[in-house]
Symmetry: C2
Subunit: 200 residues, 2 copies
């Protein structure tokens, strides 16, 4: 796969190579992002992300490092880390790649059974419904979220964790719906937790 994409080198360290012993010095996300959405639903997860990304940036020393927009909060926290701590690397966001039915491509999709895989497409349809409400003139964040939530709740076997319209940088809840904000969803489809988002 990498060869077909023209990749010259891949750095794929084993866990024991990255962490020969548990690190005593780690990075920690505080403030607003730590308390919202993924920060709230997966305690410690964002701390682990910034710690390993900091080490990878030091090891590889890239001019530019590319991260997927699908993990929008992870991307926002990495940008914040680079800014707060003056990492000399440029962070570049990559648009979410989608299957023909709209499901965001993710390594987790492999865990879905065939019926779950079909149901999972509701996440993107819900995001589109939320965005459509905004484009139709709704400016109340609750109305945009409700338009998305309605589709999720109409789909048996899909349990939403959250549907949230937030600022793209701080991830604080939107006070009024505005272009550039992130409409984010996390939902369980069977035992698999999926996340996705669109930008208004």
């Amino acid at each position: 796969m990498l060869e077909a994409e023209g990749v010259d080198l891949a750095f794929v360290p084993a866990e024991g190579e990255m962490w020969p012993s548990p690190p005593e010095v780690r990075l920690r996300v505080g403030g607003s992002p730590a308390e919202r959405l993924e920060g709230m639903h997966r305690p410690g997860h964002l701390d682990g992300v910034v710690t390993v990304v900091a080490k990878l940036l030091h090891l590889v020393g890239p001019s530019r490092a590319y991260f997927g927009q699908k993990d929008a909060q992870q991307l926002a926290v990495i940008r914040r880390m680079v800014d707060d701590l003056a990492f000399p690397n440029q962070i570049v966001a990559c648009p979410t790649v989608r299957e023909p039915d709209g499901l965001a491509v993710s390594s987790r999709n492999a865990y879905l059974s065939a019926p779950e895989r079909q149901r999972a497409a509701v996440l993107y349809r819900a995001l589109q419904a939320g965005r459509a409400a905004f484009l139709a003139g709704r400016r109340d964040p609750a109305a945009v979220e409700a338009a998305a939530r309605a589709l999720l709740e109409g789909q048996p076997g899909v349990e939403p964790d959250y549907v949230a319209l937030v600022d793209a940088v701080s991830f604080e809840p939107a006070k009024q719906a505005e272009p550039g904000q992130v409409l984010a969803i996390a939902a369980r489809v069977g035992r698999t937790r999926l996340i996705d988002n669109v930008i208004l």
Copy 2:
């Protein structure tokens, strides 16, 4: 002063330049060093040190960065940070510079009144007494520490925070006195808190 030393460039950022807003992503020292000596007596201090040193290393990008042995635990924690997170910089320790009476040179010495300044020399005499006990054959850490503590306690106006023989890397208490370990002292002289150490 810098010119006389042949310094070409000094990077002396103002606080507002380093931290235009409070950082949301910080470094944090866990495990053993966080719980001992300076980590215990100055909660949050070592976290602040590694956070600002990480940012300075990113901003300056030095091949080698030099830190004083006087702040032995800070030095150990910075080495651990560089190792844990694979910073591409080499950390070099600088021997402690001393006044003629043995007092370690420190910006804090300016806070001492003339009589306090005289008393402060007991820190280094105490460290030498501890090291002498080791060289005379004492291998019980408590005996080495007691030899140092006796001098401190004989000096009115000097209040020890701790006298501790520890491993130079982990800063865990020595089980048996051995060459290479750090004998560390913190003490208040009047209102000024001084630290110093010698290596066995």
